[in-house]
């Protein structure tokens, strides 16, 4: 037994004080007698000046002493150890369940599970980890405590409770509801969380239920307790699609595809591949993969292809990485061209791949009409639309300030790192006559004239991307050159919403800004179609991206217009696809020996002492009443 608050034992000094108080003569009871004449002999023991007498051996004194002793001991918080799992001190079990993609591998038998009616021959690693956690929970003593942590790309504390039957039932229920993920595992954050769960009254014992397929944080702080790695998984037999891209030749516009297939086993394997373009079977191939090696493939899907799907026709331990998707990454979308008197950009815009062009006269311009990119040539509306904007030869009164008189301009200096000028040589290019503009604070200069005035600006203002061509292409010979459509293409690509063709890590959220007119948001997911609640005008964070596959978020407004946002969720993580168990992952974990982790104590006896003191107090009260 030990005392959690030994300083409180000083209250035992109340015991001699109580004895002294009982030795002092109490106030005498006044009693009327017929006559004092026969009591005169008893006055010999009348109290002296000090009024002290020997400690009276009375029930009252005994009860007072017992009450004082019980109260002092209760304040000192004595603790008695209970027995649980072979130790003498209660423990806090922190169960870190690896929920990364590799735990989907079906190559293991459930270790340490209680006998059930279920088939225990082969199961997924995550299920095996769940059963092992279940066995640990069932072996808890009432004084123990357990915390379940799901370790995925994000770390989540699922449940915490003691080993009492009702709380353990809740833990088991929470454990049964866990699902494996399709991304990695952040064990750095998990170990930090485990360290924060250490408590002085229980010994910390961290169980890492994992196949070891994570990068051990070498700079992790030591844990004040034991860390036990429970290896799960047996096989390394896995092949995976580790890369898949779909793009276009920027000049010719032809779609191009690229894939990489890897073999993580020690044996060579020949795998059949099947390629689909917009859900239409495109081709089949047989690929020979060397042991622990990769093969890269190229293919040409049809020009209108927006989505390709590649499948490995094999059954290995981890099926999640046997299929991948890719979207056409350079699709720009709808472009509105608003020009005062025609535009040199109309022709190249109409020819560029991935562009749906709509030419609008300035008088017909309606800012409510939505586009992915709006091009204003020689015109600036009173208020810019929410889309990305290209301002060509802007007049005064727009987002850029004009200063000076028009003068002939020549491109003197360029920023070669700017993606606008990728493959475009504008130096010394004469651009006709232009009015100088003042560089706004939100923009950076991509090209400038020999007098230092900016000719091409790019930046972001009020949440929209803006590119400014501070010249009229029609006053130069630029539209006749081959670099002009490339310049236009580069500009549109830079302005297009990069989220439109984004690849998202499983479980990661996608943020979507919705217009105020939006009335409906529908998500088409690999799981099916679902309505997504939202607040008009506010951004929506869509986080139901745990399932691998293509996603389409459809935004509808009151006018019936629809905008679409597409993305795919793939498992392109070689660390997860390499499912070979790595039990040595935790070998370097530095832990503080349990002996130095404080003084784990057991069940506190203070509540019982308090109850005992209250019972004694009640008995003393009865004794007092009886004496009266």
């Amino acid at each position: 037994m030990t005392f959690l608050n030994p300083a409180a034992l000083l209250f035992l000094l109340a015991i001699p004080l109580i004895v002294i108080l009982h030795m002092l003569r109490p106030r005498r009871r006044r009693t009327v007698v017929p006559s004092l004449q026969f009591w005169l002999g008893a006055e010999r023991v009348r109290s002296q000046r000090v009024r002290v007498r020997p400690p009276p051996l009375s029930l009252s004194l005994l009860l007072h002493l017992l009450i004082a002793a019980a109260a002092a001991l209760a304040l000192a918080r004595p603790s008695i150890y209970e027995f649980g799992l072979g130790t003498t001190a209660p423990r806090h079990f922190v169960l870190l369940l690896d929920a990364s993609a590799s735990m989907q591998a079906a190559d293991t038998q459930a270790p340490g599970a209680e006998a059930t009616s279920q088939d225990t021959t082969v199961t997924t690693r995550f299920e095996a980890a769940r059963r092992r956690a279940e066995a640990l929970l069932n072996a808890m003593s009432p004084a123990d405590r357990a915390t379940i942590v799901r370790v995925g790309d994000d770390v989540r504390l699922v449940a915490s409770g003691s080993g009492t039957p009702w709380e353990r039932g809740e833990l088991l229920q929470a454990l049964a509801g866990l699902e494996v993920g399709s991304a990695g595992a952040d064990f750095r954050a998990a170990l930090e969380l485990a360290r924060s769960l250490a408590e002085p009254t229980r010994a910390l014992e961290v169980h890492v239920l994992s196949d070891g397929g994570f990068a051990f944080p070498s700079d992790a702080s030591p844990l004040p307790g034991r860390v036990i790695f429970e290896p799960i998984g047996a096989s390394d037999d896995n092949q995976a699609i580790t890369q898949l891209r779909l793009g276009r030749d920027p000049l010719g516009g032809r779609p191009e595809g690229f894939a990489r297939v890897s073999n993580f086993s020690d044996q060579p394997v020949s795998v059949p591949l099947r390629l689909f373009a917009d859900d239409v079977p495109l081709e089949q191939r047989q690929v020979d993969l060397p042991p622990r090696g990769s093969v890269e493939l190229a293919f040409e899907p049809p020009s209108t292809t927006e989505l390709i799907e590649l499948r490995l026709g094999i059954e290995d331990a981890l099926a999640a990485d046997n299929v991948a998707w890719a979207l056409q990454s350079d699709r720009i979308g709808t472009v509105h061209l608003v020009a005062a008197n025609g535009s040199a950009l109309e022709r190249p815009l109409s020819l560029l791949p991935g562009v749906t062009l709509e030419t609008i006269a300035t008088r017909d311009y309606d800012p409510a009409r939505r586009a992915d990119v709006t091009v204003f040539d020689g015109f600036v509306p009173p208020r810019l639309p929410p889309s990305a904007v290209l301002l060509v030869n802007p007049p005064a009164g727009g987002p850029v300030e004009l200063q000076g008189d028009p003068r002939p301009v020549r491109v003197a200096r360029v920023d070669p790192r700017s993606p606008l000028l990728a493959g475009v040589d504008l130096e010394d290019e004469l651009l006709g006559t232009a009015t100088p503009v003042v560089r706004p604070l939100w923009a950076r200069v991509t090209a400038e004239a020999d007098d230092g005035a900016p000719l091409i600006l790019e930046g972001q203002r009020d949440g929209r991307r803006i590119v400014v061509w501070a010249f009229d292409p029609r006053q130069s010979r630029l539209p006749t050159k081959l670099t002009f459509p490339l310049l236009v293409y580069n500009t549109l690509v830079a302005l297009a919403d990069p989220a439109r063709s984004e690849r998202v890590v499983a479980g990661s959220p996608v943020t979507l800004a919705l217009p105020a007119e939006a009335t409906e948001l529908i998500a088409h997911t690999p799981r099916g179609t679902e309505q997504v609640p939202f607040q008009p005008g506010a951004a929506v964070v869509y986080d139901r991206t745990t399932t691998l596959g293509p996603y389409l978020l459809e935004v509808r407004d009151a006018r019936g217009q629809v905008s679409q946002h597409r993305f795919v969720v793939d498992l392109f993580d070689e660390n997860e696809s390499d499912i070979a168990p790595r039990p040595q992952a935790l070998a370097d974990l530095v832990t503080v020996p349990p002996a130095a982790a404080g003084h784990p104590v057991g069940v506190e006896a203070a509540p019982f002492l308090v109850i005992g003191a209250l019972v004694l107090l009640f008995l003393e009260w009865l004794h007092f009443l009886w004496r009266r």
Partner: protein
């Protein structure tokens, strides 16, 4: 408080007050009288009991039978019963209180006397006679006696000699003087009783005490307060202290008995827990006060 219940009154009706000395009433009554110089009628014999007057022993019977008998003579005179009841504060103590018992004894004796045409006078005393009932006679005065006993005020300290002197100066000589008291007197009990004997009374002392005065149930540290004087005394009641008290009380009671015996005073020491019928019907009858 109802001093006497109906059933007890019926039993009292069968009793007659007896007097072993000169009745002293001076009037014609129902009782045999014994006077000097007058013819005496021999009434009866009875066995000698300790405390009887040796002069009344019939020695001729003793010579023949070697047994002691008293010769009773009769004279047809009434008895004057003097009821002297202690109404001091010390009597108003105990459960039941000594005063209640004293009143009931006085009521019983007075009832018997009045029912048989004897005369009764009563006095309630403490430091002096605080309340006096003039001599009454006959059944019609029973209620007057009872009302007197119930209405007499309680209070004061007991000065027995002074009170007896005060009563004796007013009362007729002779008769039976019944002193009902706890004898917790400032001036002692001897002089007062002696005075009554000197007045020619046949004295009966009913010494009333409460059971708690014989066996007190106190313990611990107490502040005792005298019921009459108000004086206080701090005591720590150890078993030894209680034993000393009990010894003192026993010695005092023995002293009272001895004194009364020596002077021919009938003395009966009564505890308040005793049934009243035992006291009045049996024990006093044994003392030849009632027959």
């Amino acid at each position: 408080m109802r001093l006497l219940d109906e059933e007890f009154l019926r039993k009292l009706d069968r009793l007659v007050l007896a007097c072993t000395r000169a009745a002293g009433g001076g009037l014609i009554g129902e009782h045999a009288s014994r006077r000097r110089g007058t013819s005496l009628e021999f009434a009866d014999y009875r066995s000698y009991v300790p405390g009887d007057d040796f002069r009344r022993i019939d020695w001729s019977i003793y010579a023949r039978l070697e047994a002691l008998f008293l010769r009773l003579t009769e004279a047809k005179e009434d008895i004057h019963l003097h009821l002297l009841v202690d109404y001091s504060r010390s009597m108003h103590w105990g459960q039941p209180s000594k005063l209640d018992v004293a009143r009931r004894i006085a009521a019983a004796l007075g009832y018997v006397a009045l029912a048989h045409a004897d005369r009764v006078s009563a006095a309630a005393f403490a430091s002096e006679v605080a309340f006096h009932l003039p001599t009454v006679r006959g059944r019609s005065q029973i209620m007057a006696l009872l009302r007197f006993l119930e209405a007499a005020p309680v209070g004061g300290r007991t000065h027995l000699e002074r009170a007896m002197h005060q009563y004796g100066e007013r009362a007729a000589r002779g008769g039976v003087a019944v002193v009902i008291s706890d004898l917790l007197c400032v001036d002692g009990y001897e002089a007062g009783l002696r005075y009554l004997l000197g007045r020619g009374h046949e004295v009966l002392l009913v010494h009333v005490l409460a059971d708690e005065e014989i066996e007190p149930r106190y313990d611990g540290d107490l502040l005792l307060e005298d019921a009459e004087s108000g004086e206080t005394l701090e005591v720590s009641l150890t078993p030894a202290a209680l034993g000393l008290y009990r010894a003192r009380v026993a010695e005092w009671r023995d002293g009272v008995r001895s004194y009364c015996q020596q002077r021919g005073i009938d003395c009966w020491q009564i505890l308040t827990s005793w049934p009243l019928e035992d006291v009045v019907l049996k024990r006093l009858q044994q003392r030849a006060m009632l027959r």
